[in-house]
C-alpha cells in the first residue's frame, strides 16, 4: 500500500475496511480484472407478461396502424436504381406502385411553397434564355469569321486560332450538358440511371440554383 508509513496515527487508507462492512481479518473480494458482462445475469426475474384481451386488441391496432402507414404514400420511397435488365414483372410493378407526384396530395395553401416540386420549369426559363442568346452571337461571329477565311488565304496561324475556338466551344457545350443533367436530377421521373452520391462539392451550385429558383 502506497499510503503506509505516511504520517503518524492516521489510518492507512482513506476508508477503513470496517466502514465498508468487512470484519477484521475477513478476506476482501478479489479485484475485478474483467469488464462486466455485456448481458449481465438477472438477479431478479421480470414479472410474467399478462396478455389480456384488451392488450391484444391494442396490439392489433398498433400493428394495423404501422402497416397502413408503411404502405401508404406517407412512406417516402427512395429512388429506384434500375437493375441490370428489364424484367417481365416490372411492368406489373409499375401498375401497382403509385407513380403520381406527391404534389396533388397536399393543400399548398398551408404548406411552404418551396417544398412544391415545381421549381424546375421556372428555372429552365430563367437560366437558359441568356445562354441561347450567347450561342446565337457565337454562330454569327463564326459565320463572319468563316467568310473572312474564305476570302483570305488560309495560313497556318489562322488554322491554329480556329482550333482554339473549336475547343472553347466544346467546353461551352460540356458545361451546358452538365447543367442539364443537374436539372434532370431535380426532376422526379427521369432520374433512374443516376447514382445519388453527393460528396458535398456541388453544394454551392445547388444553393445558387435555389436562390434563383422560387419567385415569391
Amino acid at each position: 500500500m502506497a499510503g503506509r508509513g505516511r504520517g503518524r496515527g492516521k489510518p492507512s487508507m482513506s476508508i477503513s475496511t470496517e466502514q465498508l462492512g468487512f470484519a477484521k481479518g475477513e478476506t476482501l473480494p478479489p479485484p475485478v480484472l474483467q469488464p462486466p458482462l455485456k448481458y449481465p445475469l438477472l438477479e431478479y426475474k421480470p414479472l410474467p407478461l399478462n396478455i389480456t384481451t384488451e392488450l391484444s386488441y391494442l396490439f392489433e391496432l398498433k400493428k394495423g396502424y404501422a402497416e397502413y402507414m408503411r404502405e401508404s404514400p406517407n412512406n417516402v420511397l427512395p429512388v429506384v436504381v434500375k437493375k441490370d435488365i428489364e424484367r417481365y414483372s416490372d411492368r406489373y410493378q409499375d401498375l401497382i406502385t403509385d407513380k403520381s407526384s406527391y404534389e396533388i396530395r397536399y393543400d399548398w395553401n398551408r404548406m411552404p411553397i418551396e417544398l412544391k416540386p415545381q421549381l424546375r420549369k421556372r428555372k429552365e426559363q430563367t437560366v437558359e434564355s441568356p445562354k441561347k442568346k450567347q450561342k446565337n452571337i457565337d454562330v454569327e461571329l463564326k459565320l463572319q469569321e468563316l467568310e473572312k477565311k474564305e476570302n483570305s488565304q488560309q495560313s497556318d496561324v489562322e488554322e491554329e486560332e480556329k482550333e482554339e475556338e473549336e475547343t472553347e466551344e466544346k467546353d461551352d457545350e460540356q458545361v451546358e450538358e452538365e447543367e442539364e443533367e443537374l436539372d434532370e436530377e431535380m426532376d422526379e421521373g427521369t432520374d433512374y440511371a443516376n447514382n445519388y452520391f453527393d460528396n458535398g462539392e456541388g453544394y454551392d451550385d445547388e444553393d445558387d440554383n435555389l436562390d434563383d429558383g422560387p419567385i415569391y
Binding site: P11, L55, K62, R70, V76, Y106, L115
Partner: protein, 499 residues
C-alpha cells in the same frame, strides 16, 4: 434531448414512414432548426425526396416551420413523434367513449395528420363497407359520430398558420363544419364532381384533450384499486366537476362544494356510493395518496390535488421498479430514505433491520445506479478526512424520474430493434405466409374446391408452421411490452409535467 431519445424517435419514424423520412427527421433532431438547403447538404438525399419527406412530417405535425432572417427554417417536435406509441390507446379510449365508428374516424384522422370532415367520412364509409365486422355504414350516422368527437373535443380545427409563434398562441377551435351531406353520399357512390363544400376546413386530433383523459383514467383506476369501485366512480365525478371550474393543467382544482358532489353522485346509479358518500370522501381524503384535500373552515369544500397525486404515483412506480430490479430489501431501504429525507448509513441498517453488510451492499448498489443520492456535510474547522464527514443519503425525485424516463426510452428502443430483427430474420417465411393467404382468398372468391385449398395449405411444412407461430408470438409479446412500457413512460412524463 438525449441520444437515446433521438434513436427512439428515428426508429419509430422508420417503422411508420420509411428510411428517407427517418433520415430527414434525424438530421433536424441533431441540428435543431435549419433551412432546406442545409438538410440537403448533410443528408446527401435528392432534393425532391427531402421535400416530400418534409411534407409528410409537416402534415403529421412532427415538423413546424418558421420564417427567419436566414429564410424558411424547419424544426422537429420530437414529443409528437413519441405520441405515435400511444395512438392505439387513444383509439381504444375513443372506442370505449364514443363507439366503433368514432374509433375508425379517429384512426383515419391519425393516418392523414389533418383531413376535411367530408373526406374522413367518405374514407370511413368505404372502410366499414369492406370490413367484415358486420357494421352497416351510413353517412348520417358517421356525421353524427364525427360531431360527437368534435363535441368531446377529441378533434379540433387544424388552422392554417405559417409561423411558429402564431402556432403557440392559437386557440383550439371547435366550431362544427357545415357541409353538404348529399354531396358526400354522391361522392361515395362514385360521382367525383360533387363538392361537399368544406374543402379548406381541416381537422386534426386534439392530443391535449386525449392526454388529459388518459391522465384521469390513471387517477380513477388508482383510487379504485386502492379503495373500491365506488370510490373510483366518486373520483371520476370529482374530476368531472373539476373540469367545470378549473383550467385544464392547473395543479389543484378550485374548491368544489359538497352539495355539488352530492348532486352529481345522485345522478349516477351507484346506490352504495350515494349512501356512504361522506365516508368515501373521508377515505379518499385520509388516504396517504392525498388526491383530495378538504379546504375552508366549514369543511364543505374539496380540492383535487393533481400535482400531489402524480408525485405519489411516481413514488409508487419508482418503488415498484426498485423492488423488481433489486429485491424487496432494497425497496425497504429506498422507502426508508424517502421517509427520512436525509439519513446516514448507520441509521439505515438499524431502521431497515437488515444486517450491516447486506444493508451497505444494497445501499451502495442503489447509489451506484443513481436511485439514491449522497450529500456530504463536513464539520467546520476539521480536516477534510472522510471519517469526520457525514454522508447523508437522500432521493432527488426529479432526477430519479428523469433517469427512469431515459430507461423507458432505452427499453422501448431495444424492444423495437429486437422486433425489427425478428421480422427481418424471418422475412422469407412471413412473406410466404402472406402470399399463401392472398392466394387462398383469391381462390375462394373464384370458388375453388376444398382439395385445391388443402393443396395450398400444404405448401408450408409443419416445421415451418411451428417456427412461424413462434416468431409471431415473439413479435406480439414484444409489441405488448412496448405498450406497457409506454404506460410507465406516460405516468412519469405526467409527473415531470406537473413538477
Amino acid at each position: 434531448m438525449s441520444v437515446i431519445c433521438r434513436k427512439l424517435c428515428s426508429s419509430i419514424l422508420s417503422e411508420h414512414f420509411g428510411q428517407i423520412v427517418q433520415r430527414v427527421a434525424e438530421d433536424l433532431f441533431k441540428h435543431d432548426a435549419r433551412p432546406l438547403e442545409l438538410i440537403c447538404c448533410t443528408t446527401h438525399l435528392p432534393l425532391t425526396k427531402i421535400k416530400e419527406a418534409l411534407c409528410v412530417l409537416i402534415k403529421h405535425g412532427f415538423v413546424v416551420y418558421g420564417q427567419t432572417e436566414r429564410g424558411l427554417e424547419y424544426s422537429l417536435i420530437h414529443q409528437n413523434i413519441l405520441l405515435i406509441l400511444r395512438y392505439p390507446k387513444y383509439m381504444f379510449f375513443v372506442k370505449t367513449m364514443c363507439g366503433d365508428e368514432s374509433e375508425m374516424i379517429l384512426e383515419e384522422v391519425l393516418m392523414s395528420g389533418y383531413i376535411t370532415a367530408s373526406e374522413v367520412i367518405t374514407k370511413t364509409y368505404k372502410k366499414i363497407e369492406q370490413s367484415p365486422s358486420g357494421l352497416q355504414p351510413s353517412v348520417p350516422v358517421l356525421k353524427e359520430k364525427f360531431e360527437l368527437l368534435v363535441k368531446n373535443q377529441f378533434l379540433t380545427r387544424s388552422l392554417c398558420t405559417d409561423t411558429v409563434e402564431e402556432k403557440t398562441n392559437e386557440k383550439p377551435d371547435f366550431t362544427l363544419p357545415d357541409f353538404n351531406l348529399a354531396a358526400v353520399i354522391k361522392k361515395i357512390e362514385g360521382d367525383n364532381n360533387s363538392d361537399p363544400g368544406d374543402s379548406k376546413i381541416y381537422w386534426k386530433v386534439n392530443f391535449d384533450r386525449l392526454i388529459q383523459d388518459l391522465r384521469d383514467q390513471i387517477i380513477v383506476s388508482a383510487i379504485s384499486r386502492r379503495l373500491d369501485e365506488n370510490a373510483g366512480e366518486l373520483m371520476r365525478q370529482l374530476l368531472f366537476l373539476m373540469y367545470l371550474r378549473t383550467a385544464s393543467w392547473a395543479h389543484t382544482s378550485n374548491p368544489i362544494p359538497l352539495t355539488e358532489i352530492k348532486e352529481a353522485v345522485k345522478k349516477i346509479n351507484y346506490p352504495l356510493l350515494a349512501h356512504h358518500l361522506d365516508q368515501y370522501l373521508h377515505l379518499i381524503e385520509e388516504d396517504s395518496s392525498q388526491f383530495l384535500k378538504r379546504v375552508g373552515e366549514s369543511g364543505g369544500h374539496f380540492c383535487v390535488n393533481m400535482k400531489e397525486a402524480f408525485e405519489q404515483l411516481a413514488w409508487a412506480t419508482l418503488e415498484n421498479i426498485v423492488t423488481e430490479r433489486f429485491g424487496s430489501k432494497a425497496a425497504r431501504i429506498f422507502r426508508l430514505v424517502r421517509d427520512k429525507k436525509y439519513i446516514e448509513q448507520e441509521q439505515i441498517q438499524q431502521l431497515a433491520m437488515i444486517p450491516a453488510k447486506e444493508a451497505k451492499h444494497l445501499t451502495y448498489t442503489l447509489l451506484q445506479e443513481n436511485y439514491l443520492q449522497i450529500q456530504e456535510i463536513k464539520k467546520s474547522g476539521v480536516s477534510a478526512a472522510p471519517i469526520k464527514t457525514f454522508f447523508l443519503f437522500h432521493i432527488d425525485l426529479n432526477l430519479v424520474v428523469y433517469m427512469e424516463v431515459q430507461h423507458c426510452y432505452q427499453a422501448l428502443y431495444n424492444i423495437m430493434q429486437r422486433r425489427e430483427y425478428e421480422i427481418s430474420s424471418n422475412k422469407r417465411m412471413i412473406d410466404k405466409q402472406l402470399r399463401m393467404q392472398t392466394l387462398t382468398t383469391n381462390l375462394k372468391e373464384h370458388g375453388a374446391t376444398e382439395e385445391q385449398l388443402a393443396e395450398i395449405a400444404d405448401l408450408m411444412t409443419p416445421s415451418e408452421k411451428q417456427q412461424l407461430e413462434k416468431v409471431q408470438n415473439t413479435i406480439k409479446k414484444l409489441g405488448i411490452t412496448e405498450l406497457q412500457i409506454d404506460d410507465t413512460l406516460f405516468l412519469l412524463t405526467m409527473y415531470l409535467r406537473y413538477h
